[in-house]
């Protein structure tokens, strides 16, 4: 643990102007991290600015998966390397098989997703764009091919929206004829954001207060969700072969995942922060869980990641040396687990592509819940497609050991315990906060209390955080500090080299009290850090 002590005053030129206000330390900081800690927004800017061709080049020359396979297979397994070749020229049939496999695993009973997928209105013959209810949706998301073929619409069936898809495609290609790229259209209350990713176009039509870069980030997630089902190499190849291909055939199962992902992003600050939240556990319990996984799986070749999670919070993550997981990939995994009821019923074997890890190939995941009496989900991700039974066996052993060491109980206890609230920190004027530790890409936030306990209010709160985040991270004019007095609350955002803090206060709090509150909060997080964060980065 490398965190600096509370009382230790660092005379850092960068931070000392606040040293009289807040002690300079970074709760939750760690020298090692299992997560890639790049700022998602910086990355996004790069992605938007570099041309697609460059990215493709990079992707095809550095396939992490084949790198692992080569390293582990000692070059004596020609069979495997040829199967790798097969992968590259995989037939469409096989992809469809994989896709249908996925659609089976993701048969969801999630009500949100169902509601979202339900067509609007009772007039199936009518075009949606003439339907006021459809038009007034807060956020539409469309996916289409570069040729204008509908792939996905968040609301309504694509077939009824052919005209709109056609217009979107025309706008994109018109601007392209000027060697330029369309980014967004702005009207009084809406933003129309375009993201062109190789052979597909993603469009968001939003009436929310989110910034363009935040909407682009969401579209990137949606794109990554598509890649996660197909791999980028497969996606590109399909359109190289048939420009007019109807991708819906392959994405039948993934639609649910996208629906769910979009709803997920509307509630979770994790996406905005590019960080992951951990399930609070005492360090000894967490260590013992981690050690159990390391000991049981340490001998299994080709195992890249073991991930244990519950309630969209990370319990532990064990990784192969040298390899890290990007928070964006982890978010997709959370989404997959959350939207797939079938994982609860039985252990599953599912191909999954982690776009940030390696967008060109699949990892294979053994996915299962620990037991009927412990709703934590374990994912064992490997590059080897034939080790289901090895991993299944490993999982059984892990569960047995965890049960014996009372870790299942500890997990259950934490899952069922109501989360900390802001008031437990002991600062009465503070209503809520988000704290992100930059060096570990982990964040923590308390449970939502009144007045933010309703869906509407909690979404408004997330909107406030998004606006705050946008100002602080504006690409050309980034800020260190922002204090904003609004009608219903006072918001404070503070970015240092070590952490990002976003706090919601009572509207009439004085600046003096706000600063004291922040001090007190940071000390509290420091005190709790080994429960709220994972401070090490275990490997097999």
């Amino acid at each position: 643990m490398a965190s600096k002590g509370v009382c230790e005053e660092k005379k850092d030129a960068d931070n000392n102007e606040e040293s009289d206000v807040v002690p300079d330390f970074e709760p939750g900081a760690s020298l090692e991290s299992m997560l890639v800690t790049t700022d998602s927004f910086e990355e996004l800017e790069q992605e938007m600015d570099s041309s697609f061709d460059e990215r493709q080049m990079k992707e095809s020359t550095t396939s992490t998966i084949s790198e692992i396979q080569e390293e582990l297979n000692d070059t004596t397994v020609p069979e495997d390397s040829s199967s790798e070749q097969d992968d590259k020229i995989i037939e469409n049939d096989e992809v469809e098989e994989i896709a249908s496999q996925l659609s089976e695993t993701s048969l969801t009973s999630n009500e949100d997703a169902n509601a979202a997928a339900t067509p609007v209105g009772s007039l199936p013959e009518e075009d949606y764009w003439q339907n006021p209810e459809w038009k007034e949706r807060k956020k539409h998301v469309f996916i289409l091919s570069a040729a204008g073929k509908p792939i996905y619409s968040r609301y309504g069936t694509e077939d009824k929206l052919v005209t709109i898809f056609g217009v979107m495609q025309a706008l994109v290609s018109f601007v392209q004829t000027n060697q330029d790229t369309i980014r967004s259209i702005h009207t009084g209350n809406s933003k129309f954001v375009f993201l062109i990713k190789g052979p597909i176009i993603l469009v968001s039509v939003s009436r929310t207060t989110e910034s363009v870069s935040q909407l682009v980030l969401q579209l990137t997630y949606v794109y990554n969700q598509v890649v996660s089902v197909l791999t980028s190499s497969q996606l590109n190849r399909i359109y190289e072969q048939r420009r007019n291909y109807d991708l819906r055939r392959l994405l039948a199962g993934a639609e649910r995942l996208i629906d769910h992902l979009l709803n997920f992003m509307e509630r979770e600050p994790a996406f905005l922060l590019g960080a992951v939240k951990c399930l609070p556990l005492t360090p000894s319990v967490r260590d013992s869980i981690t050690q159990t996984i390391v000991q049981t799986c340490g001998k299994i070749k080709n195992l890249v990641f073991a991930i244990l999670l519950a309630k969209s919070q990370l319990i532990t993550l064990v990784r192969m040396k040298k390899y890290f997981i990007h928070p964006a990939d982890l978010h997709l995994i959370f989404n997959l687990v959350n939207s797939s009821e079938s994982f609860k019923a039985s252990e599953s074997w599912t191909p999954i592509c982690l776009p940030k890890f390696d967008s060109s190939g699949f990892l294979y995941g053994h996915v299962s819940y620990l037991s009927d009496d412990c709703q934590a989900c374990l994912l064992l991700l490997t590059v080897d497609r034939d080790v289901f039974f090895t991993l299944s066996e490993a999982k059984q052993k892990i569960v047995e050991k965890l049960r014996r060491s009372n870790c299942l109980e500890a997990i259950n206890e934490s899952v069922n315990r109501p989360s900390y609230t802001a008031s437990q920190v002991g600062v009465p004027e503070m209503r809520h906060f988000l704290y992100k530790c930059k060096s570990t890409a982990q964040f923590w936030s308390p449970a939502l209390e009144p007045p933010y306990h309703t869906t509407e209010e909690s979404q408004r709160l997330l909107g406030l955080y998004q606006a705050l985040h946008h100002h602080l991270h504006a690409a050309s004019r980034p800020l260190k500090l922002l204090h904003q007095q609004l009608d219903k609350e006072t918001m404070l955002g503070w970015v240092t080299s070590g952490f990002e803090l976003y706090v919601t206060f009572e509207p009439l709090i004085t600046k003096h009290s706000a600063i004291n509150a922040v001090n007190k909060l940071l000390r509290w997080i420091k005190k709790e850090e080994d429960r709220l964060f994972i401070l090490n980065a275990p490997t097999f």
Binding site: E17, T181, R183, F192, A467, Q484, I515
Partner: protein, 469 residues
């Protein structure tokens, strides 16, 4: 460090889709296109894109108009100036050349072009057109719906106006388009008012009058919405140009017979430059249309200046102005104005002396705007010429417009304090319809100190104005 390219005007067009709906007559919908050398196909394509974008956005929200299109390399602003008449302005996004992995690439700085600022620039261009030419619909109906006439007026106005746009120095003041007022003591103010009344009583042709000292407005009888456009024209265009010709040695002495015996300093800024030369037909007085939203009124705008004082007289547009009228005006205005201006000047120097204690500390800079009376004051800007003469960095100046763009979230009152990476503190306060922005460059300050500093500043600079804390 590589240098940044500038914001350039790529094109600017005015169209109305309801014209030229017949096949083969599509060209009729384009009323003005800049640059004029653009081939017709390109014009049609670009107008077509604008039409498509407006229609597309309309699909999703019929009640909100399209404001802007962002592409990687350009920014396009939209303004429906009158029903069906769209004005579109396309700007290039500045870029810097960067090197990554040994290859050069261009990084476009799209945040440098702020929608709210350039939408304001576009709206101003319409207001300025309307001031001098009247509204589109009025022009059309005066010529029996013949588009040619409108096209000529658009071309006549915009082909010159567009060259005067200072796109790289547009900022939050363009959004406000406020007026700088000169506060006077009661007596001096009454003298100015008496003078104005005297003009209007003596010359029945003068319907309205405005009085300025330097670039500050002292008195006006014109409605604020019109005055802000006229003020802008005077301060950024007419007066600077006039000063320049004067500085160039006064090539045309006003009283060539007896330049030294002249009892006053007055001269016409718009009007005959030489009152003795009866043959001089080379002068023109601009005509302006005001009150365009209700019943448009046409006036001659005669501007007369003595030393730092400027009098703008709005004379009934139907009248013919002859040299004799100007002579009578000059005889009346010259002596009166010369005495009045020294009184105003005296007051101002007294003010400057007494307030100099406040301005000793030059560090905090501020911009103030009151939407109710359009009053504006800025110590961030060192002059009124929009030439980029500012006391803060361009980034900080843009932050002011960022805050302004975000103020919709603050309803009627609110406050935002932020600190940049380069240790500038920027404070934005909103109270009812007043906006107050402060910039403080103080590395070692904290939130509370900055808050106190802003309080001090608003106490000394904006007495009597209540800001919610």
């Amino acid at each position: 460090m590589t240098s940044k390219s500038e914001i350039n005007l790529q094109n600017f067009y005015v169209y109305n889709s309801s014209f030229g709906q017949k096949e083969g007559e599509e060209d009729k919908k384009i009323l003005f296109y800049y640059p004029p050398k653009t081939d017709f196909d390109t014009q049609m394509k670009n107008v077509g894109l604008s039409e498509a974008i407006i229609k597309f956005t309309d699909t999703f929200n019929a009640d909100q108009l399209c404001d802007a299109l962002h592409t990687q390399k350009t920014r396009q602003l939209y303004h429906q100036a009158e029903q069906g008449f769209w004005m579109v302005m396309t700007l290039s996004i500045p870029f810097v050349t960067k090197v990554k992995d040994g290859t050069e690439y261009l990084e476009y700085q799209s945040d440098d072009v702020q929608d709210n600022v350039y939408l304001a620039v576009l709206r101003q261009s319409y207001q300025m057109f309307r001031l001098f030419k009247g509204s589109f619909t009025a022009i059309l109906s005066s010529s029996g719906a013949d588009v040619t006439h409108l096209k000529q007026k658009l071309d006549h106005f915009f082909s010159r106006y567009l060259l005067t746009l200072k796109l790289n120095h547009s900022d939050i003041l363009d959004v406000f388009q406020g007026i700088q007022f000169l506060p006077l003591d009661k007596q001096t103010f009454l003298h100015v008012q008496c003078f104005v009344n005297l003009i209007e009583a003596t010359f029945a042709q003068v319907k309205q009058t405005a009085f300025l000292y330097n670039d500050q407005l002292v008195w006006t009888g014109i409605e604020p919405e019109d005055m802000q456009v006229i003020y802008r024209y005077l301060v950024t265009s007419l007066l600077p140009a006039h000063l320049e010709t004067e500085l160039q040695g006064g090539s045309m002495p006003r009283h060539p017979t007896s330049p030294f015996s002249s009892s006053h300093y007055g001269r016409f800024v718009t009007g005959p430059p030489n009152l003795q030369d009866a043959s001089g037909n080379s002068w023109k007085v601009p005509k302006v249309y005001i009150n365009n939203d209700m019943t448009p009124e046409l006036y001659h705008l005669v501007v007369y200046r003595a030393l730092s004082a400027t009098v703008c007289m709005f004379i009934e547009g139907s009248l013919q102005l002859n040299l004799d009228f100007f002579k009578r005006l000059d005889i009346f205005l010259g002596p009166h104005l010369t005495t009045l201006v020294s009184e105003v000047a005296e007051h101002c120097s007294r003010q400057a002396a007494s307030s100099s204690t406040n301005s000793v500390d030059p560090s905090p800079k501020f911009v103030y705007f009151n939407k109710l009376n359009l009053a504006q004051k800025s110590t961030v800007h060192l002059d009124n010429r929009r030439s980029g003469n500012v006391a803060v960095t361009p980034e900080v100046l843009r932050l002011l417009a960022d805050i302004n763009a975000d103020k919709t979230r603050m309803s009627t009152t609110g406050e935002i304090i932020l600190k940049t990476m380069s240790d500038y503190w920027v404070v934005g306060k909103l109270s009812n319809l007043r906006e107050f922005y402060v910039v403080i460059h103080q590395k070692n300050a904290n939130l509370i100190e900055i808050n106190d500093e802003v309080k001090r500043l608003s106490d000394t600079q904006l007495h009597n104005i209540f800001f919610h804390d």
